[in-house]
């Protein structure tokens, strides 16, 4: 694994490990409730009602990074689950349902009091209801109404004009569901949600994302990227799961300061950088070294992924007299922003231009239907913008069919043949 270049990356990893250990202690020793959530659920509501929340995607990425995924995925296959079903969203389920098949990181997930998921792609209801059965616990579902109107350049509207971005009937529906969720969480926690505290929490989330926005601009503008994409992801995601907390804000600032210092000192992630790459799709968690593999041979460095960029553009909401409605506006369209035409393609092209991207690697997920869709539009838009595209067929948590050497050779060939250096 590539050495970490930023102190903040090491601090983020240490925080997450300690946070999870504290969670297990609270759950086992103090019988405190916790929740298991899909990544796009509003964590803020759980936080304010003192129900710590674990992200399914974070957990899956951790299992994959610890090289434990194959054992659990083999157990799924042995149970008859077809290989085409989404492994990213279901790897966590596998660590519960087939607990004996492998060694889950850090002692594994304790039984949650509640599971909560947005019903984005078709598998989510299935995966989470099976998971709730496996844990013998309850599931709260937030349905995902479809968007009929998708105005152009969504990221220019999302901060101040978010009411225009989400059709009123969708906004009303999601807000009503979140109100029902709040009622359920209040019953579980025995506390009342303080709406003023929620507004203050959202203000802090805004502040955190503003810091990340400034970090993004530093990275985009620096002559050579000062921070590797993998370290961007590690820092951003550690804070996203506890967004708005004192630690998250402080860590975001530390991360920014470290980047600022590197820019001021002229320190590059890959000195002599010649090719700036973007990664389109979820992270390749089982082989994160892939992202630094072309620095030596081609001076090619991954500059951009959605993880840092989406925080500021997707999360910031200004002017909320009703904080639940603001949360609903963020929650309603995550998938459309990231995957679907027209929104995903135009945002990614805009980001590529802002970051002076030379070439894009686009994930073709082998089992994630939601993330697999929309990519032909994205690839076409990038190519039309003059940015060569290399499709990368892979599963983000399943290394069993991944050939690291062949994948690296394919990228090298692409860089040699299609990317001017």
């Amino acid at each position: 694994m590539a050495d970490k270049q930023l102190e903040s990356t090491l601090a983020a990893a240490a925080f997450q490990k300690q946070w999870f250990a504290d969670l297990r202690r609270r759950v086992f020793d103090e019988r405190a409730p916790y929740a298991l959530l899909q990544a796009d659920v509003p964590f803020e509501l759980f936080d304010l009602l003192d129900i710590p929340a674990v992200s399914n995607q974070w957990w899956a990425s951790l299992v994959a990074a610890k090289r434990q995924a194959p054992a659990f995925l083999d157990a799924m296959a042995a149970d008859g689950l077809p290989a085409q079903l989404c492994r990213y969203c279901s790897l966590g389920l596998a660590t519960t349902r087939y607990a004996g098949a492998g060694e889950a990181p850090w002692g594994g997930l304790p039984k949650p009091r509640l599971l909560c998921a947005r019903l984005t792609c078709d598998c989510i209801h299935r995966v989470f209801s099976l998971w709730a059965e496996a844990f013998d616990t309850e599931l709260f579902e937030i349905d995902h109404p479809g968007a009929s109107e998708l105005p152009p350049r969504w990221w220019e509207m999302s901060r101040h004009r978010w009411r225009e971005l989400v059709e009123p009937h969708r906004l009303e529906f999601v807000a009503a569901t979140l109100e029902r969720l709040v009622s359920r969480l209040e019953e579980i926690s025995g506390r009342r949600l303080d709406r003023g505290a929620l507004a203050a929490q959202l203000e802090r989330v805004n502040r955190q994302e503003e810091i990340f926005d400034a970090a993004r601009q530093l990275i985009a503008a620096a002559p050579e990227t000062p921070v590797r994409m993998t370290e961007q992801i590690a820092n951003v995601m550690a804070t996203q799961w506890v967004r708005g907390s004192d630690w998250a804000l402080a860590h975001a600032q530390t991360f920014y300061d470290e980047i600022r210092q590197r820019v001021d000192d002229g320190v590059a992630a890959c000195p002599g950088e010649r090719v700036r790459l973007m990664w389109v799709g979820a992270g390749l968690w089982h082989d994160t070294d892939f992202y630094t593999a072309f620095e030596g041979s081609h001076r090619a460095v991954f500059v951009w992924s959605m993880y840092l960029a989406f925080g500021p553009d997707g999360y910031i909401r200004y002017g909320f007299d009703d904080p639940i409605e603001a949360l609903a506006s963020r929650t309603a369209s995550f998938n459309e922003y990231l995957h679907n035409p027209p929104w995903a393609a135009e945002w990614i092209v805009e980001q590529a231009r802002a970051h002076r991207i030379d070439a894009a690697l686009v994930l073709h997920p082998t089992s994630m239907k939601a993330a697999a869709s929309g990519r032909k539009f994205i690839e076409r838009a990038l190519e039309e913008a003059g940015i060569p595209v290399l499709p990368v067929e892979a599963d983000v948590v399943d290394a069993r069919a991944w050939d690291p050497a062949a994948a690296r050779a394919s990228v090298c060939e692409f860089l040699d043949e299609r990317v001017a250096q």
């Binding site: 079903l85 792609c121 078709d122 209801h125 998708l150 529906f173």
Partner: protein, 380 residues
Amino acid sequence: MGTDAIAGLTAGFEAPFAALGRKAGADRDAVVISWPSVPVEVVRATGFRPVFARGAATATPAADEVLEARVFPCRLRQLFEAVLTGRLDEVAAIVLPRTSDADYKGFLYLRELQRQGRIASRTPVLLFDLLQSSGDEAAAYDCGRAGDLLRRLAGLARRPVENVGLQHEISRANAARAAARRLAALRRPQPRLSGAEALTLLGAFWQLPAERYATLAAAAGDEIAARLPIAGPRVLLAGAPVDSTALSAAIESRSAVVVGEISPFGSEAAGADVSPDGDPLVALAEKYRRDAIDARSPREAIWRRLEAGLAGIDAVIVSLPADDASFGWDLPRLRLALETCGMPYAVVDGDPTAVLRREIRMRIDTVLAAAAGRCEARYG
């Protein structure tokens, strides 16, 4: 009359989508729908004729250029092929329901292709955003979306639609449902029509005018009731809902008979009536929310149908095409249930509209051989 009725129903199932784009001016009353989770009563109340895109074995080269592999079912590839080759240029509208993510993506893709000018057609593309989750807000939402669909189609038709017109269509469709239920009853306990034929005759419910369907289905039922029962192992089709007769025909070419399928084109075409009382939009939204069968339908709702469908069955064939993201999750549960009662089963993991691979044919042969033993023991 019975034979004519069967021919009429067959044409009502097979012909409408294939006929689109063949004759100038003939399609202006057609609303093309991607899956039967859209209330046909609403479409008909606005004076339009519902036509459904279904899976077929024909190639879809134009669609394959814009649709990712392993994400979109064959029926959506056929719909896109028709759009991209100009066959749907004259239809009144295209409606896709939210009951699967592929349909929602299909809606977004079509709108974007129009916006980019990659398809010349300006045919309105509409989303019927039917949600099937529990919770009072979903029921209210669906009612609002049904009203929105009615308003949009009425706007395209340039005719006002009042509740009485909608209630009239509900009554007609309920009469057609009753006829479909009588037809479906001829499949069990003694099957008097093949599964391929049943899918055709029941599936015609969605496209034929309701009164015509009721008349033809009644006449066809009279003829079929006089037939001798079909011998052979009785098969249930489970997994992703089928929308073509190809898989049933392949199974039935091996001396078995498909007596049920968890599909809105087959056993579940009619379902329960729409309540004739109260606000018709509320009643329609409730009926389709509860009865729609698609990738987003609640697990337990599908499971209840499956359990009911297992009565009197000798084998189960589970269709799980590569685009399935939903039904495969309950395969271990289904396998356990079937193994517990000694029921033979096989998984068909290819496109159910295409010619089956040799390996799958052999799998089916093995299952049907085991089922024949069960059938022999049961019926002699």
